[in-house]
């Protein structure tokens, strides 16, 4: 995944915290996406930025993991959100 790309979060997404997990709901499609505690942290950081590299770098500081391992997890997370229509990766950087 090209971390230099920018992204936008759909305006129809609602977050609801349940214990240490969260539910994301798309108001338009009424699809749900469950986030575990790590996912919630990822999500909160994603909301702060609009460039993948900025989010990635902050998450790397936050979690005590290697860059390679995080790249893998981050790619999966972003791909899942993109598949659900929760975020949109912009083609231009």
């Amino acid at each position: 995944m090209d971390l230099q790309k920018s992204y936008s979060i759909s305006s129809s997404i609602i977050l609801q915290t349940i214990d240490d997990e969260s539910l994301l709901m798309d108001e338009d499609t009424q699809h749900f996406y469950e986030l575990n505690s790590s996912g919630v942290s990822f999500w909160n950081i994603l909301k702060k930025y609009n460039k993948l590299s900025d989010s990635f770098n902050e998450i790397l500081e936050y979690f005590d993991v290697s860059k390679e391992q995080l790249e893998n997890d981050f790619n999966i997370f972003i791909s899942n959100l993109e598949d659900q229509g929760i975020i949109k990766i912009n083609e231009t950087t």
Binding site: I14, Q16, I18, L23, M25
Partner: protein
């Protein structure tokens, strides 16, 4: 006095704001009837509260049971999120069309009492609008795929508006019901457009400002609603308890309104029942008032017995017979006097909602609707004679 029952005692304990670890562990020590507990909790609208209480790590609950309970709670949370999203969309739609709307119960009450839309159970939306806006509000919803079960023209029939208290619109694709109200406490038509800001407080749900009643009006509304339905859901009792505990109440104002609206018995009924079950703190002046109404203490005993029986027998879809509810409503009516036949006659000689749908009479012929209760009374008299 009823014998102790584990399911009943557990549910009541879960509804309390206090966490009594010792008592809960005693109740849970030999408890196995989880399916019935979950069933009753769901039926009484308190499953989220049961989950929140029982998930405490100081309690001994099998992991599998807790996971099942959590899964049920998440299903409720998802439903609530869907309904809340529809509420914010509806309110936004009304605002764009200059319709003042007051959201009742549902997500707004959950947000007000718990700061969390997932901790109450609700299946529909109740929205109060000014009578003059009813037609437009209904029309807007119909354009959004909501259907009414009778022609929209009825919303302009004066008798209809006088005798009915709500309008039901359903979106069958989303399986969501919206009840549009135009009366407060079933019989008071408020000038919502004129008094909107005096009547309401603003709450934020999903970053949208939603207006609901101020605490005092809400308290009165919840007490009247619960009393009219015999407090047959524990959730309604918890609603009043939490509203009082978690929000500021101007007691003098709510007492004045209960008095001027002649709903004292129903109001104090609500306060008595929360005190009986949850020992809700109430000002001394209120406690003194409660003691003055003898009839509510009799009804309170019946309500608690009914709740107990309903929970321990886990009767599916069981409701109190309408005749029993009617009797309770008469006893809790401030104007009821068992020496006065006049009240009973007026009560029996009233037009009901079904009568209005038999024929849509123009306003100048609306008195003819009284033929229906007259026919009913005659039929009843004949049956008795036979």
């Amino acid at each position: 006095m009823k014998p102790p029952n584990l399911i009943y005692d557990l549910l009541i304990e879960c509804c309390k704001v206090t966490f009594d670890e010792k008592k809960l562990n005693i109740l849970l020590s030999s408890f196995e009837n989880w399916d019935n507990l979950f069933y009753s909790a769901n039926k009484h609208g308190i499953l989220p509260l049961v989950y929140k209480k029982l998930k405490n790590e100081k309690l001994s609950i099998p992991e599998e049971v807790l996971q099942n309970l959590k899964n049920l709670y998440i299903l409720i949370a998802k439903q609530n999120m869907t309904i809340s999203a529809d509420l914010t969309k509806t309110i936004k739609l009304f605002k764009e069309n200059n319709i003042n709307a007051i959201a009742l119960k549902g997500p707004t009450l959950s947000q007000l009492n718990y700061n969390d839309i997932t901790l109450r159970q609700y299946g529909d939306l109740d929205i109060l609008v000014d009578k003059s806006s009813l037609y437009d509000a209904a029309k807007l919803l119909m354009n959004k795929n909501y259907k009414m079960n009778y022609p929209i023209e009825y919303t302009k029939n004066t008798k209809h508006l006088l005798l009915r208290k709500d309008l039901q619109l359903k979106n069958y694709d989303k399986n969501l019901l919206i009840e549009l109200h135009w009366k407060f406490l079933d019989n008071i038509v408020l000038d919502i457009n004129h008094d909107f800001f005096n009547l309401t407080q603003a709450i934020s749900i999903n970053n949208e400002v939603i207006n609901t009643f101020k605490n005092e009006n809400l308290l009165l509304y919840l007490c009247i609603h619960g009393s009219k339905h015999f407090w047959e859901r524990l959730e309604w009792i918890v609603d009043v308890d939490r509203l009082i505990r978690n929000n500021k109440i101007d007691w003098r104002s709510v007492q004045e309104q209960a008095n001027s609206s002649q709903v004292n018995r129903m109001f104090y009924m609500g306060l008595l029942i929360i005190r009986s079950l949850f020992n809700t703190p109430l000002p001394e002046s209120i406690q003194n008032e409660i003691t003055k109404y003898k009839v509510i203490h009799i009804v309170n005993k019946d309500i608690l017995e009914y709740l107990y029986d309903d929970i321990i027998h886990t009767k599916e879809n069981a409701h109190l017979p309408q005749s029993a509810i009617n009797k309770i409503n008469m006893l809790l009516n401030d104007n009821y006097n068992d020496k006065t036949m006049k009240f009973k006659m007026a009560y029996n000689f009233r037009i009901n909602q079904t009568d209005l749908f038999k024929i849509n009479l123009p306003n100048y012929l609306s008195s003819l609707y009284y033929i229906f209760p007259l026919v009913r009374l005659i039929k009843k008299a004949f049956k008795r004679l036979q």
